[in-house]
Structure formats: C-alpha cells, structure tokens
C-alpha cells in the first residue's frame, strides 16, 4: 500500500434522527414519488460524517416507506424531506441502507418520533 491509503472506510456513526417542520412545496411520499407537500418535515440523519459512495442511501421508515431523495445541507447531515408528517409511522424503526446492500444497513432510530 502507498502512504496515501488511510485504512478501511469507516461506517458513519449515527448520532440521532431529527424530524423538523420545513417550508417546502413538495416532498417524497415514501413510495417513490414526489408529491405536493401537506405537512412537510425534514428527516435529518445526523452522523459524524457522511462519505459518498456509489450506491445511494435510502431511509427506510417502518415497513413500507423508503425515502431516496437526499441532500447534505451541512457537515454530518443527511436530509430527506417527507411531504406529510402525518403519513409517517410514529414509533416504527428507522434505518438507512445503501442500495440493495443489506449489509450496509444502519439503525437510525428504534422508534420514530414525529412532531405534532
């Protein structure tokens, strides 16, 4: 190995999930579509750092919802925008997974808290 190599890629260390209202015109419905926002919220997965990789991260909320359109508005922030907070399954587990790589699954929250 050359001295440029720094060792194994680290898995992001998830710190918390923040769900906050946001002023948005549209958001994801968690079923693959962008829809007009009803009660939009940001789903911010806060970690020590978010490196990039070939596969995209997807936020799995509960059993049925998968959010795929993300942004990185600041260091350590991976943000998804849900169109309707009321459609989010409060209390359900939330995890991240990169593409179909089940080994990459990272638990984000054992129980989703949705602001009222």
């Amino acid at each position: 190995m050359s001295d440029r190599v720094r060792g194994p890629a680290a898995t992001p260390e998830i710190r918390r999930l923040e769900v906050n209202p946001v002023d948005a015109v549209e958001g994801e419905d968690g079923r693959g579509q962008m829809v007009p926002a009803r009660r939009p919220v940001t789903l911010d997965v806060i970690a020590d750092a978010w490196p990039g990789r070939a596969l995209d991260p997807a936020l799995h909320v509960g059993q049925e919802l998968v959010f795929t359109r993300y942004r990185h508005p600041g260091p350590g922030v991976l943000r998804f925008v849900a169109a309707d907070a009321d459609a989010l399954p409060a209390g359900e587990p939330v995890f991240l997974q990169w593409g179909d790589d089940a080994r990459s699954r990272l638990e984000v929250s054992a129980s989703l808290e949705v602001p009222q």
Partner: protein, 876 residues
C-alpha cells in the same frame, strides 16, 4: 654534265651494256634456242642517302637490262640523274628491244632519300604492369633513337598519363606516344602500349571465429559480412557458403573475388545465437510531478531465444537513434523507469543481449514528454442540470502538440465526498454544492478529478490528450448519472471547439492538436455508468465534430441500464468491491452483446483482488472495510490496482483509439493468453485476471436463449448433453444464488462420470473465422470442493470425422472462484484460436465443422459443475 651526273654516269652506261644471260655480247649473234626475250632487273631499293629538302640527284639505279636478240636500253621514270626529294619515290623502268619487236620488260624500284636531320625512334612495343588500384603507375622506357641523317634536339616527349594507368575493366591498354624533333624540323614518333593487368587475388583473412544473432524466431540469419582487400579493386565483399545459418555453430567458407576473376577463400566457424526482440514493449506508466520532468516507466515481455542473457535499455531522439545506453539488466528485469525525459519526444529501444555482449533483436517505443494544465469555467450550463455549474478539467497532453492531432480521452470519477476535512485521517464528506468547490468552513475541496490524473498522464505519454473532469457539483446527490453523462458531453462540446477554433483555457493552442472524432471515455463507479450512457445520448443528439470510439468503465453502477452501442466497450469488475459489491457492471457488458454484427469489440475483466476505491489516488479509504467482501489480506493494494489499470487502459486504448489502421487488441484483452509478464512485473504481483471478450463481428452458435434450449442451439441444430447429472438452462439466481449474470446459460454437473456436451455445427464454414469461444465459470458447488481450477477436454470435429482435442487449461485457466466471502460466479471466455487448430491439426477442415464438444473425463476432475454460455465463432 653536272657532278652528280658525272658520278652516276658509269652506272647508267653499265645498264646499256648489260646483255641477257647466255648471250655473248650485243652484236646480233643468234640467241640459243631462238629465245629473244628481254630480261630487266631492278634493285628493290636505291639508297639515296641523306638529302636536303630540295632534293638530290640520283644517277645510277643499278638497273640491268639484257637481251639475246639485240641491244636493249632500260628507260626509267623518273630517269636516272633526276632529283629526288626526301622520301620514297617509286621508279618504273622499262627495257625494249627495238629490233626484235618483243614486248618490253618492266620493273620497279624505290629510291629512298632520307631527309637531312632525320632519325627514327624505336619504342618498346608493350609494357605490362600489375594493377595497384584505380590508377597504376608504370615506368615506360624511353624509345631508342636511331640517328639516320641527324638526331633529335631536346628531350623526347610523351603523352603518358600523369596519374597512372586505369585498372582493367576488364582490360586496360593505354597507348603512350613518344615524339622528338631534330634541328631541321624533322619529327619522329613511336608508341608503346601500356597494359595494366590484375593477376593477384584479393587478400582475405577469416577471423578465428564469428558470431551472428537471430533476432526473431522466423528470421533467416546470414553469416556476418566479411571483405577481402584486392590490390587492384580495393575492398571486395566476400560471398559466404552456406548463405543462411541455423542456431548453433557452422563452418562457413568465405570467397572474395576480384573483377579479373582472381579469388581467395577461407573458412571459419560461425556461431548463431538466438536472442529475439522483446515483445509487448509499452509505456506502463507516466507521471508529471509539479514543476518536474516527465517520468516514464517501460515494461516489456521476455525475449525469446535460448541465448538471451539480458537487455540493454537505450533512448534516443528518433526511431533510428542515435542511442544512449541507460541501463543493462538481466533477463529477469522487465521494467525500466526513466526519471526525466529531456526531449519532447523520446524513443526507447530495448536490445536483447546474447552471450558475449552481442546485440540481438531490438524493440523500439515512442514516449511523449508531458505538459498540462487545469481549466475551471464557472457558471456554465449543462443540459439536464438544473443549476449553473463548473466545467473543471485537469488536462495532460504531449508537449509536442504539433505531432498531433491526438485522440482525446476524458475521464470522470464517481460519487464521493466533495469536502475534505482538515485531517487526512478522516474520509471525504458529502456536501451540497453547485460548483466545483466545497463551501464548508474548515474543509477543502476534495480533488476527485485529480484522483484519475495518473491515468491521464499514462495515456498522454502514449499520444493522447486526456482530461480528468470534476463532477463535484453532481456528487452527493441521489443518482445524477444522466446529468453526469451530459456533463461529459458538454466538456466534449467545448473540446471540439478548442480543437477547431483554438483558444483553449489551458493556455495552449489546441487547434489542430486534438482529434475529437477519436474520443475515448473512462469512468469510475457512477462515472463508469455515465460514460456508458454517453454513446446513446450522442446518437440521439450528436455534437458536431465529436465521435466516441471507445469506452472503459471501472466498477460501474447500473442504475439506468446503459447499452454502449457503436463503441468499443470494456468494463472492469473488482472482486473485493465493497461498494458496488453486486458487480453490476457485468450487466452492462452482457447487454452490450446484443448485436453480434455491431463491429465493435466488448471486453470484461474480473480482477478478484481489487476493491472499489483504490482505482482513484484520492479515494483513500478501503471500501472493503475490515473485510466486507474479501479478507483484507488478499487485496492487491492501491499501488497494484492503479498499475494494473494504467497498463490495461493503455493497452485498451492502443488497440481501440491510438493506433490507426488495422490495429488489433492485444491477446490478453481478448481473453487469449495470460496477462503479459511485463504488466505483471510492473504491477509487482501476478495478476489473476479473468477476461470475457466478444469480437466485433461474430456468429452466436448458442446462448441458450432459444425456446428449445438446451436441446437446440441458435443454428437450429441439436445439442446433446450425455453423462451429466444436471444439464439445464438457467439464468441469474435460477442457476444458483452465486450466479449474477442476467443471461441464459446451461448448468452442467457431473459426478464420477464423463459428461459430454455437444453442439452440432452442421458443416459450419469457419475458415474465415478467428476463434471459437465460449464463456464458462466454475460453480460454487460442493462438486467442485477442493478444486483450484476447472479442467475438461475441448474437442472440435469436422464433418469428415477429423478432430482436435485439447485440455481446457491449454486454452485458459478457469480458476474455481476466488477468495471472497460471498463469491460471485463471473463468466470468463475460453477461446480456441483457429490458427492454432490449423497448426495442430492441418487435416481438420475448418470449412466444414461438425461438432464442438466438451468432455469432463479428465483424471482428478471426475466430479464438477460449471455454468456455460455464449458459444461463438469470432469472425473479426
């Protein structure tokens, strides 16, 4: 009466009184027998002595006239007592008997009157000298002077040539004329012929022994040249017998002959050594350190020839030298690095050395010194990108742009963090940016484009203008692969403009230096999928002056199913890829096989020990982590991965972009033959590369896609599978969970039995083809337990029954999987070159092929399982 007449008078009177023989006086006595004829005798010559120019009187000629019949009188004309001038005068005399009436008698004489002052020169008739060169000096004796009535005053002159006499061609005779004059003005000349002869044979000396070198296996070797030295003709090339030599020691007889046919011979032992030129000489790597000189590493494959002992590496300014020796190395050395190219264009020559320091065959290579720069165009519009963004490229090109136009290669990295934290101990992080830069406080911009510049440098040294592009603004967003393709196309649009109108932002005039009708694209990860998308985007919306010829994807994603139609396409799959662990780049390859008459080649290389990230020098963390996909101990490492890619990419673009004319891909890129030893040497480890290859034009015999498969192939002819425990058509997970190819194939298993799989070819005329091939992979099955590599028989038979049978291992090594935790069954091509069939079995009629078979009856491989598909005839 003058004095002369008085002097000569008695001689005249004597003529009046001379009687015919037998007669007694002149008084009319009767002649014996009645003979009354007249006898007249003249002297041949009357010497008048030395006479003045006015002449002298000559009185008595001494003519005798006789007659028995009477008195006769000789009358001469000119008469005696006449004045004779210097020279020779013919006098005619006549005697007539007035009484007898007999016919007169006549005679002639010559009065010789020598001029006063006369003399003669008596030359040697001929002088012969031995040739001593083109001109030979000769000592021609002066003539003898014969003083007649005088002698020459002054010296005797001659017209002898000053420089000497010419060599025989084939003869040489020169007439030398001597002349002299006396005081009276009398002149005399004479001549000597000077002949130059060559009777001496050339000198020829054979050395004690000679050495000759055969520089290639099919080269005929003539004995070393030898020359004799001929005294007359100078150096004379000697003929040799025998004229052609085989390896070993032979006695050669040399003969040197001159133009006169004189010859000399000698003999000497001549030893022929085999020291062939190296093959596969290539630029393995090039780099341009900041502010430094271009560094180039060469690699080559070992020279053939049993007498090769090493190599001498040289460089020079031109293909014919003059050569400066850089290093002399042993046979084990297959790499040389020149740390600093001094000239814009440098030629390298690797000379194979034979024993005794004799030069054998040589191979030459050209390398370009590099220059480069970066362009950074802000607020640019790119189709489908919703924000103004940056066109940023790090370019490398030959310093000698005037040698162009050069093909253009653009490289695009993949999705990766675009913000670099303050400590290099941390990985790059993702940020949202619309331009090239990271805007987070305390971070710097990740040099993603710079991560592929090492490839741009290696290509540029081979005669390419290359630029590694920044996709930082498109990174860290979901997908954005189509946008990446449009980014590449926008860069191409700009390059086409710079190549025609000039005015590039690099500070050099690119007009005429770049050929955008010969474009190659390289992409890594999402960049790999993006460049595979470009051909279809350009087909739909062409860019004037831009034609993409060749695309190479490194560990690409396959989000959008690109089909790289109309371009030569290659894909690299890393076996320790912890990111795109599904190796979905193979789907791009498999889809690219759809048109067998497309005229463009496809290659896929599976590199088991490589990870995803280390193909970029700036992606510094191992995506395989602590061993996600394979044990970290089996990984080849960043240096080996990058070197493998430099050499492989260079070979790929040499065959598909750089070389013009009937350039062909190197064998290893066509799944024919192992990785060149020079590349292994450059990489530093033996590379276990498994190649798939589909020729540009081919006949698909069977891909198991027919509804009647496996019983029928695509030629509409029957297949047969006997002795197998399993012979079924499957695809992807339908074969087994380790088989990722979305491609129909036949799964074959055998247990303690010989299975025979037969594809009927129905008299197929393969005489114009290059190779028969199929793709195969060893299955992740207990039937292959303990196996290192598959082995079975491959058999080809013509309709007449002539056949050839070879072991699989003689064609290709098909390893049993690879070291990884979740091994994937990646197909590789096994290729049977038809040239080899012709050589091994000349009686087999390639114009009427009957069957292709594989038989699993090799000892030690009584049980096994493989998946096989894509049985093809490569036409070109």
């Amino acid at each position: 009466m003058n004095v002369a007449a008085a002097f000569f008078a008695p001689l005249v009177l004597a003529a009046l009184l001379t009687l015919a023989p037998g007669c007694e006086g002149g008084d009319g006595d009767a002649c014996p027998d009645g003979d009354v004829s007249i006898a007249l005798e003249c002297p041949t010559e009357v010497d008048a002595g030395c006479v003045p120019e006015a002449g002298a009187v000559v009185g008595d000629f001494g003519v005798e006239a006789r007659s028995c019949g009477g008195v006769v009188e000789a009358v001469c004309d000119p008469a005696e007592g006449s004045t004779f001038a210097p020279g020779e005068t013919t006098v005619t005399c006549e005697a007539r008997d007035a009484t007898s009436g007999e016919p007169p008698a006549t005679c002639e004489l010559t009065v010789v009157a020598r001029p006063e002052g006369s003399f003669s020169l008596r030359c040697h008739e001929r002088v012969s000298v031995e040739c001593q060169g083109s001109l030979t000096p000769a000592d021609v004796p002066l003539p003898e002077v014969v003083a007649l009535c005088g002698s020459p005053t002054g010296s005797i002159a001659s017209d002898a040539p000053a420089g000497g006499y010419p060599a025989p061609a084939p003869t040489s005779e020169t007439t030398v004329t001597f002349s002299a004059a006396s005081a009276t003005g009398y002149e005399a000349t004479c001549a000597t012929v000077v002949e130059v002869v060559d009777t001496a044979a050339p000198e020829l000396t054979c050395p004690a022994a000679l050495t000759a070198v055969r520089t290639s296996a099919d080269a005929a070797v003539a004995p070393p040249a030898l020359a004799g030295l001929d005294q007359c003709g100078g150096e004379r090339a000697a003929t040799a017998a025998p004229a052609a030599l085989a390896r070993g020691t032979s006695t050669v007889t040399y003969t040197a002959a001159d133009a006169a046919g004189n010859a000399t011979s000698c003999s000497t032992p001549v030893t022929v050594l085999d020291a062939f030129a190296v093959t596969g000489l290539r630029v393995a790597s090039a780099s341009l350190p900041p502010g430094g000189a271009t560094k180039v590493s060469l690699a080559w494959d070992p020279a053939g020839g049993d007498d090769a002992v090493g190599y001498r590496v040289e460089r020079g300014p031109g293909p014919d030298g003059p050569w400066e020796a850089l290093d002399t190395v042993g046979l084990e050395a297959l790499v040389h690095t020149d740390p600093a190219l001094a000239d814009d264009v440098t030629y390298y020559r690797v000379v194979t050395l034979a024993a005794g320091g004799v030069d054998g065959g040589a191979a030459t290579l050209r390398a370009y010194a590099l220059a480069g720069g970066t362009y950074d165009l802000r607020d640019q519009r790119v189709p489908t990108v919703t924000f103004a963004t940056t066109l940023y490229g790090v370019a490398r090109h030959p310093r000698a742009l005037a040698d162009g136009p050069f093909p253009l290669v653009l490289l695009l990295h993949g999705n990766h963090g675009n913000c670099r934290p303050p400590s290099l101990a941390w990985d790059d992080e993702c940020s949202e940016t619309t331009d090239h830069d990271c805007h987070w406080w305390g971070y710097t911009t990740t040099p993603n484009a710079e991560g592929l510049v090492y490839l741009a440098e290696t290509l540029a040294a081979q005669g390419v203008v290359a630029a590694s592009l920044s996709g930082n603004a498109l990174n860290c967003r979901d997908d954005y692969i189509g946008e990446r393709a449009e980014l590449v196309i926008e860069h191409l649009r700009r390059w086409a403009g710079w190549a025609t109108a000039g005015g590039s932002p690099l500070g050099v005039d690119l007009a005429g230096a770049v050929d955008t009708t010969r474009v190659g694209l390289v992409g890594h990860s999402r960049g790999g999928e993006a460049v595979a998308l470009v051909p279809s985007r350009l087909a739909a919306t062409p860019v004037a002056g831009v034609t993409v010829a060749s695309v190479f994807s490194i560990a690409p994603t396959d989000y959008h199913g690109p089909v790289p139609d109309g371009v030569e396409y290659a894909v690299l799959l890393p076996g320790c890829d912890g990111d795109v662990y599904t190796l979905e780049g193979m789907h791009i390859y498999d889809r690219a096989l759809a048109d067998p008459a497309a005229g463009v080649a496809r290659s896929q290389v599976f590199f088991p020990r490589a990870n995803h990230n280390f193909f970029s020098t700036e992606w510094r963390f191992d995506d395989n982590g602590w061993g996600l996909v394979c044990a970290t101990s089996v990984e080849a490492g960043d240096v080996a991965q990058q070197r493998m890619l430099e050499a492989t990419l260079g070979a790929w673009f040499q065959g598909t972009l750089i070389a013009t004319g009937t350039a062909a891909l190197e064998g290893f890129l066509q799944a024919q033959g192992p990785t060149p030893p020079g590349i292994d040497a450059w990489v530093g480890t033996s590379l276990d590369l498994r190649w798939s290859h589909a020729a540009g034009s081919r006949l698909v015999i069977d891909d198991l896609s027919d509804d009647r498969a496996p019983a029928m192939n695509l030629l509409g002819l029957p297949n047969a599978f006997t002795g197998f425990t399993t012979a079924r058509v499957c695809s992807e997970a339908g074969c087994d969970t380790s088989f990722p190819h979305r491609r129909t194939a036949v799964l074959l298993s055998w247990e303690e039995a010989a299975g025979v799989a037969t594809w009927s070819l129905g008299g197929l005329d393969a005489s114009a083809g290059e190779a028969l091939s199929f793709r195969v992979v060893s299955r992740n099955s207990g039937l292959n337990a303990g196996l290192e590599a598959q082995e079975f028989l491959v058999r080809l038979r013509d309709t007449g029954g002539a056949e050839i049978e070879v072991l699989l291992s003689s064609l290709a090594r098909v390893p049993h999987l690879y070291q990884a935790y979740n091994q994937r069954e990646v197909l590789q091509t096994v290729r049977l070159p038809l040239d080899e069939v012709r050589a091994l079995s000349p009686e087999l009629d390639l114009g009427a092929l009957g069957e292709l078979e594989i038989e699993t009856s090799v000892a030690g491989h009584e049980s096994g399982s493989v998946i096989l598909t894509d049985v093809e005839l490569a036409i070109e």
